[in-house]
Symmetry: C2
Subunit: 253 residues, 2 copies
Amino acid sequence: MSGALYVIGLGPGPADWLTPEASEALERVTDVFGYGPYVERIAPRPDLTLHASDNRVELDRASAALALAASGRRVGVVSGGDPGVFAMAAAVMEALERGPDTWRGLDVAVLPGVSAMQAAAARLGAPLGGDFCVMSLSDNLKPWALIERRLIAACDGDFALALYNPASRARPQPIHDAFRILRERRPAETPAAFARAIGRADEAITLTTLAEADPGIADMSTLVLIGASTTRLIARPGQRPFVLTPRSYEAAP
Amino acid sequence: MSGALYVIGLGPGPADWLTPEASEALERVTDVFGYGPYVERIAPRPDLTLHASDNRVELDRASAALALAASGRRVGVVSGGDPGVFAMAAAVMEALERGPDTWRGLDVAVLPGVSAMQAAAARLGAPLGGDFCVMSLSDNLKPWALIERRLIAACDGDFALALYNPASRARPQPIHDAFRILRERRPAETPAAFARAIGRADEAITLTTLAEADPGIADMSTLVLIGASTTRLIARPGQRPFVLTPRSYEAAP
């Protein structure tokens, strides 16, 4: 079978966070599948067919992409950020698992990218400098009880937290419920950051504390970072403080 | 003050995982500081001074880099992978916190990169497709009791795990102790992957199970990935199976 499928991480937005590997793959493919706003980032070419689809149809999109690859095309499936972190790599693997046996013989490769948590962490300093947990707060595909259990476990382990999908227009509640759980278990002054659309024109960062935060400012373009017990601020003249989760655990300065 | 310091993520190794932002920063800086093997990746230029240093002197290296930036130079501090994940961003922030007040007025920026866990995950399929914990097993800077507490919490939360610094020549024990803890808490057949030097000439992946794994194969260039309860394999003819941690939690196919 001569077709191929690449799951391509576009990074958080700007071209200077797109890896050369991803750029080259985008030049080689004959078809690109993805959520509309990601497909819009791809430069059109006469020999490239763009297949934009809605959010929440990841499995259908992945199956359509695999079927086209099986017909001999070189297909790219694009994700914002890193495809392996709450993005299309898992959807493509799920479609591969459910699909016809012949799909498993296809050349399928995942091309990593810079994820939103890394872009947000870079802007803030080193908030994920120690051990951390990465969670999606969306309860579309898993029960809220599991999300709650994981937030509690993350607090038990004193992990810093990177929270994806904190809220959407259809589901504003998860980040409020998460803050309720975290506020019962972590000090009021724990640093909390809301990093929205990092690297894009409307980038915005709100750096606050667990107690003072308004979880309602989070939307589906926001990544929320919560500190561990060791996380602290470094004041800077005329600029937003840096956030540091030190490598060492005793570590008061 | 006109000096500047950039903490630059080089990615896991190959140039095609180096972001354009990082490439451009490397062309602009006058000095590069870093652990020897990372500095060796930088192409020499007549107007660029390379300052290679040993492992385990991160704080001294970061302070020297900040001092030079304060003297007006444009300094790069390089990290393999992403500087925000067990790398130089935290060391630079710690040095900034301890150093003279004037350093806080410097132009300091962190430039994110693809981390080892993302490269390893990409090669394997989607092992981090659900919620996951990211931990360093090095007890140089934190007590082993905390690492143990965090491994237990990660099991309580049924998180997939990405384990950095599983072992070194000086400390071969952490990954053995970690496996003992994990084997008491997770099923024998849980997928476990040892991903060594991903993207480099000596790349090697061992995909096995928690019960059958030999933790002794891990060294300081190895990233260890451990599945959650939902993690499973997708067989492929003539190739290593893909590893999938599905987005959904009930999710038997």
